[in-house]
């Protein structure tokens, strides 16, 4: 299952794997576990955690307002959960999951590249910080005796930096994901030579039944992550990356698949961690949200505010945390996006500090050196 070993010195030369789900770990002498799931491509927060109580929601969202894949889960008076997040809904009901809405990093443009860099470095501007916020968090923890555990190729920006970090990945060669294939198809659409060849390749792939499921699926990665995190002397921090959230078109079906993957990943972590789940906090966050209104192709475009998902046995769950800005005229950010009212870094800092019993005032300048972050509190059981 696991194949390769490389130390951080080499990992620094390699890079972010954004196209297929991957894992990376860091170890530290604490019994708490922290998992950061990076949702690359901008998850539509308004579809994952739907503000059904907002009077403007249904009008803006059109057909996307009511997912057809099953019953939604009522979370509170304002919010309902997408049907694909069934396991997460069960965690919410059991007080093990919460959602933070209208949240965003300090980044206010709409480039995936730059926004993911801000999300992962924990800075206020793209490329300003050269290491990841989780790596700096590792530096704030007591030194680990065996921190350089490494298997596989790449460490995402969020975990990269001076603190020793290892990485692991499944041995199976990742298939190109559906999103990349769709983009390649679009790129070849106007090419007289490549278009028919590509169409033929996609037809064959469909016939072979290789569309999507299979190698490198997130559920397997969740299980794999749990295997390592559950070990008493294993890593304490992990990152998992899930790409494919850039749903500009035909969002209803695509997002349903994406959310099912995320849901399965969380369920696999919970099942795999067993008793350690009680000491675990999982944060799933994305680089930005998507437009409040549905676009002309049944999808949504790059937006601003979105949702973060927090799960784990240590989480004080069962609630949606939102200073709800509203979706009406004059309430939207730049007349199009959900207005962010919570700094994602405040959530990150609060979760990190409470998970590892760190003083947020002391750890904040280290993990978020650009400053201006007030840690959220009351998120994690002591």
């Amino acid at each position: 299952m696991l194949t390769r070993r490389s130390l951080l010195g080499r990992a620094a030369l390699t890079g972010v794997v954004a196209l297929t789900p991957r894992l990376a770990f860091a170890s530290a002498p604490t019994d708490r576990r922290f998992v950061f799931i990076i949702l690359r491509g901008a998850m539509d927060g308004l579809a994952a955690v739907m503000p059904v109580g907002d009077p403007f929601y249904a009008g803006l969202r059109g057909a996307l307002a009511t997912p057809g894949q099953g019953p939604v889960t009522k979370l509170d008076a304002m919010f309902a959960l997408h049907p694909a997040l069934a396991s997460t809904a069960a965690m919410y009901a059991g007080g093990e999951a919460l959602f933070v809405h209208a949240v965003a990093s300090p980044y206010r443009e709409r480039s995936h590249f730059d926004a993911q860099n801000v999300l992962e470095t924990g800075g206020t501007a793209a490329y300003a910080l050269k290491d990841g916020w989780l790596n700096r968090l590792v530096g704030a923890l007591p030194p680990a005796k065996d921190s350089a555990i490494a298997i596989a190729a790449t460490v995402p920006m969020a975990l990269r930096g001076s603190a020793p970090v290892g990485s692991y990945a499944p041995s199976a060669l990742p298939q190109a994901n559906d999103d990349l294939l769709a983009r390649v198809g679009a790129l070849y659409a106007g090419d007289a030579q490549l278009h028919p060849l590509w169409s033929s390749a996609m037809d064959a792939r469909m016939l072979a039944g290789a569309d999507g499921a299979g190698k490198g699926n997130p559920e397997a990665l969740g299980k794999l992550a749990a295997t390592f995190l559950a070990k008493p002397d294993g890593p304490r921090l992990a990152t998992i990356e899930i790409g494919g959230w850039d749903t500009h078109a035909a969002q209803a079906q695509r997002l349903n698949n994406q959310l099912r993957q995320l849901d399965a990943t969380l369920a696999a972590l919970r099942a795999g961690l067993g008793p350690v789940w009680a000491k675990t906090v999982v944060l799933a966050a994305t680089e930005f949200g998507r437009t409040a209104a549905v676009n002309g192709t049944g999808g949504t475009d790059h937006g601003t505010g979105g949702v973060a998902i927090v799960a784990g046995g240590a989480v004080k769950g069962g609630r949606v945390i939102a200073d709800w800005p509203g979706l009406g005229n004059g309430q939207l950010f730049e007349n199009r996006d959900l207005r962010p009212t919570t700094d994602l870094r405040a959530l990150m800092l609060g979760l990190a500090a409470e998970s590892f019993a760190l003083d947020p005032a002391r750890v904040s300048p280290l993990v978020f050196p650009d400053g201006g972050v007030r840690a959220m509190s009351g998120l994690v059981r002591a």
Partner: protein
């Protein structure tokens, strides 16, 4: 490679890999000293004799080209002249000959004695210079000039070689005695090779090398390149026939091959996505050919890695 086509031809035909691959290293003239000795032992396990393989491919593939008028008699005469061209260490060291393992050696004891006639011309020298003189004449033969011109034009200007370019290359070859630099100059001046989009669909080898150069990967221990090239359809050093790899898109632009390139591109991209910004790199790698569609696709990629993968499989990067 500069110099003349003869230099190139001689380097190829005396290369140990070629001598071994096309069986020249064990071709022995029946009337040579060793050939005569062997004839005295008709029951010996190991038969010795002439092998025409290299001689035939020289005429058919390396110089004149198939159907250009040479005969089976010409093949045999060239094969006889080539006897003795071998590789040190391949068999026991020849008496009195300095032959380091793996180096070209002329085994005079294997050489078929006598004058030879190739394409109507008589070659009297009775040693290693005999076949060299034949190669020198073959290198500047009009059929060779046209054959080479056609291959060069196909390789650089398009799967259907432009006839006017073939004419210009042929004339230049004959006028300069096969001066390679003069041929390159004709190619560089040809508008056909600078067409947009690139006139050639890259072979897997070309695509892989250009992708690695593009992402600045000088060493690639994690990329499993030998396996990747097999997946892409061009296994390293195993072209399947002495004609070498085919040089037209029909052989390489296939549905599954495209899908494999996307997978390999994704793997390459995953290794360098933290260091390279595909948005900037696109203009550097594809000056003058980058299309707005590709620029936009890269800009809209959902991650740096996806952007790089899209750059590496963009239509303009698939061609040269």
């Amino acid at each position: 490679m500069f110099g003349s086509f003869y230099d190139l031809l001689l380097a190829v035909e005396t290369h140990p890999a070629m001598l071994l691959y096309l069986d020249q290293a064990q071709s022995i003239g029946p009337d040579s000293f060793i050939g005569q000795r062997a004839a005295l032992r008709p029951n010996a396990k190991r038969k010795v004799g002439l092998n025409e393989n290299l001689a035939r491919e020289i005429l058919e593939l390396h110089t004149l080209g198939v159907g250009s008028g040479y005969t089976q008699g010409d093949v045999q005469e060239l094969a006889r002249a080539l006897t003795g061209w071998s590789v040190g260490g391949f068999v026991r060291a020849p008496v009195g000959v300095e032959a380091p393992d793996g180096a070209f050696v002329f085994q005079s004891g294997w050489h078929q004695p006598g004058t030879r006639v190739l394409l109507g011309k008589t070659y009297r020298a009775d040693d290693a210079t005999q076949a060299r003189a034949m190669l020198a004449d073959l290198a500047v033969h009009p059929a060779t000039a046209r054959h080479l011109a056609t291959k060069l034009a196909r390789h650089f200007a398009g799967d259907v070689p432009p006839p006017t370019l073939v004419e210009r290359l042929t004339a230049t070859h004959l006028r300069t005695g096969g001066d390679l630099s003069a041929l390159y100059a004709v190619l560089f001046a040809a508008p056909e090779i600078w067409a947009t989009p690139g006139p050639k669909f890259k072979t897997p080898w070309e695509w892989t090398i250009s992708a690695l150069r593009g992402i600045g990967a000088k060493e690639a221990p994690d990329l499993k390149l030998v396996g990747a090239l097999t997946e892409l359809g061009q296994p390293v050093w195993r072209p399947g026939s002495p004609a070498g790899w085919d040089d037209t898109a029909a052989s390489w632009a296939a549905p599954d091959a495209l899908l494999r390139r996307v997978e390999v591109a994704q793997r390459f991209a995953s290794v360098v996505a933290d260091r390279l910004d595909a948005r900037r790199l696109a203009g550097e790698l594809l000056p003058g050919t980058l299309t707005p569609a590709t620029t936009q696709a890269i800009a809209r990629a959902d991650s740096p890695g996806q952007g790089l993968a899209l750059l590496l499989v963009a239509p303009e990067f698939m061609r040269r």
